[in-house]
Amino acid sequence: MKRLLVLGAGTAGTMIVNRLRRRLDPDRWDITVVDHDDVHPYQPGYLFLPFGTYSPDKITRSRHACLPDGVNFVIGDVDRIDAPTNRVTLVDGRTMVYDYLVIASGTTPRPDQTPGMLGAEWRRSIFDFYTFDGAKALAQALQTFDHGRLVVHITDMPIKCPVAPLEFAFLADAWLQERGMRDRVEMVYVTPLPGAFTKPIASARLGSMLDERKIAVESDFMVERIDVENKALISYDEREVPFDLLVTIPLNMGADFVARSGLGDELNYVPVDKHTLQSKAYANIFAVGDASDIPASKAGSVAHFSVEIFADNFCQLVAGKPMSGSFDGHANCFIESGNGKGLLIDFNYDTEPLPGKYPLPLVGPLDLLKETRANHLGKLAFRWIYWNVLLPGRPMPLPTHMSLVGKTTNKTTAKATTK
């Protein structure tokens, strides 16, 4: 019996076992998944919790219920991976041996990494919304917030869902307007990046959306610490940003057991080949989803597109064939912009988000990099798709690789403007 062990039953881990259980002979392959609890969160839903759009029960399910029959589900905390002997030890002492290991333990916000963040103001005037508890606490705080400085802050890149802080800012702006309080609130967007987003065309578009909403941008800001007494962010180059309500995205890091096992980089991400997700150190270890160091967004869509390729590759590998699939870094995401509208962006390792149509080039129906009601509805519909299509690994009518057809590239934009 061959053993496939998957660490993490989140988005990537769940999709992997659902796909591979159908394709690997049950008489020859044992599949086991480990996670620390039995709660599978729909993480994109956290964005809406602070504004009361979703009730908490809509965004969690049992991890076990998302897994197929014929897969062992183990609840426990991983202590370490002993890669030379193909062995994983749990904190409670249980040991598991594998032939192939998939690390799908994701990335986690770490407020403990910034001095002052977890101090007396944590969840009083300092909030995160990337955790269920954080998003819920922020929802309460917003109920009583009626004036002052609202600061949205990113500690450092990479972060999970890099557009979510922008979405939060757009939604907060719309939410405050609806309540007639926007004039009494000063909004600031603080980022370690030189602009609103990582890639130039999207950054310009999203940056002007911040301008239109009178949200000031403090760029190239690397936070060193939080001055709890004076309620201010302090950067390494000694700039100060005071706040009354701080919504921060703490430093994101991979699992500590990855570091303990000597398999991680400086942020505990597993170095892998960016096209096959195979560990650079061990040929029988893969890291899929947010746990790897690939230079793509840490996002469910990246996990989804890469799992499709990984599953095919894995079946080839165990059949003794070379892996023929190559992941291109394809990602797409809806960006909520408030007032029932949203944008959609589609990009990969080499091509930044560009205007165009999706998923069918030239046809759509969705517009890329443009605010529309359809994109907002797409985002809301996605929750159903996530539970019912994506996690079970049912076929999605979306191309795995990114397409450039019908997109407006730099060159064509330049031509159009010189006419």
């Binding site: 450092d156 990479p158 370690p192 030189p194 990582t198 190239d220 690397m222 390494y236 180059d237 793509a296």
Partner: protein, 104 residues
């Protein structure tokens, strides 16, 4: 890609002035590039630049500030003092490496 001449060095650069071929770099060019952005290199600067060069050679990518700090042992605070305002970008420029694209 444009070719430019900096005090006798013929180098290939991109539109932002970053070297496109890290093998065209040497210590002397490092000092010239630093002067271009108003920095006079001290031993402390060189320690950071040497780490960047070595790490790029081993990893194939320009290290982020956090990596220079945790792996290279130079505190982020010092990097901001040595290469003011945009240390990641400035260090890469002086070391003849591509801008770090860890930030996605």
């Amino acid at each position: 890609m444009p070719v430019t001449t900096l005090q006798g060095h013929h180098v290939n650069v991109n539109e932002e002035g970053f070297l496109t071929d890290p093998t065209e770099w040497d210590d002397d060019l490092g000092s010239v590039l630093a002067a271009q952005i108003g920095i006079t290199l001290t031993d402390e600067h060189w320690k950071a630049i040497r780490f960047l060069r070595k790490d790029f050679e081993e990893q194939g990518e320009t290290p982020t500030l956090r990596r220079v700090s945790t792996v290279g042992g130079i505190p982020i605070k010092s990097l901001f003092a040595l290469f003011p305002a945009k240390p990641a970008k400035k260090m890469a420029y002086v070391a003849g490496l591509p801008k770090p694209h860890g930030c996605v």
